[in-house]
């Protein structure tokens, strides 16, 4: 099981703060595909991903128990 967190406009699109997926392991790339096919996300091109609070690349593998976050371009400061 992995947890996927949404922030900012992605949270509004998703209509939720988080999603729990019953998968044992999945690459960022595959998760992205899954979110586009099975959820409301049509474009995630500009979105970064974090695994357990660290930025992750497309080919990194999310494992059971990990927390993944979708990070849209930031605008703090």
């Amino acid at each position: 099981m992995i947890t996927v967190l949404f922030f900012a406009h992605l949270q509004e699109i998703a209509g939720m703060e988080k999603l729990t997926l019953d998968v044992d392991q999945i690459s960022i790339k595959s998760l992205k595909q899954k979110l586009k096919e099975e959820y409301q996300f049509k474009n995630l091109d500009q979105i970064m991903f974090a695994i357990n609070e660290e930025y992750a690349t497309e080919d990194e593998i999310i494992k059971n128990g990990d927390i993944v976050a979708l990070i849209p371009p930031v605008s703090g400061g």
Partner: protein
């Protein structure tokens, strides 16, 4: 001084003096403090208020990482950063960055480095609220906007 408290995300108003005091020390003669406030007009458009969202634990980690990067580039520098989230009205403080160094030139340079890095790597987002709408501002250059409050068709394709 609790190291954890040098980098903070808070829902409460930020006290400039409090953040600055965290880095004042006997060896440092110069402290620069950057205060980012909510500006009323951006490119002629009037902001009513802002809303900030953050991925809090990761944001705190990334602020600490910026402090670490500064310590590597300017070995005698100490950094403290507090960023506010939630609703902020015009002139309210969104962020305070304090850097102390033995000599002043470094304090300016390191502080400016910190704000640039915040706008690159810290997972914090702002939503602008205008008289005629609202949008999540998409990146540091503010070139990516969602005028209807959600991404446009072109952003979703």
């Amino acid at each position: 001084m609790n190291q954890n408290e040098l980098f903070k995300i808070t829902k409460d108003p930020i006290n400039i003096e409090e953040v600055t005091n965290k880095v004042i020390r006997r060896e440092a003669g110069a402290i620069t403090t950057f205060t980012g406030t909510v500006r009323e007009f951006t490119k002629g458009k009037r902001t009513l208020y802002l809303e900030y969202d953050a991925y809090i634990p990761m944001a705190v980690k990334k602020l600490a990482q910026i402090g670490q990067e500064i310590s590597e580039k300017w070995p005698d520098a100490i950094t403290a950063i507090t960023h506010r989230i939630g609703r902020l009205d015009i002139s309210e403080i969104a962020v305070v960055i304090a850097v102390s160094t033995p000599h002043r030139k470094d304090a300016y340079d390191a502080n400016e480095y910190a704000i640039e890095r915040i706008k690159q790597i810290v997972p914090i987002w702002k939503k602008e609220h205008w008289e005629d709408g609202e949008m999540w501002i998409g990146d540091q250059l503010e070139t990516k906007r969602y005028p209807t409050g959600k991404p446009e068709e072109e952003d979703l394709v």
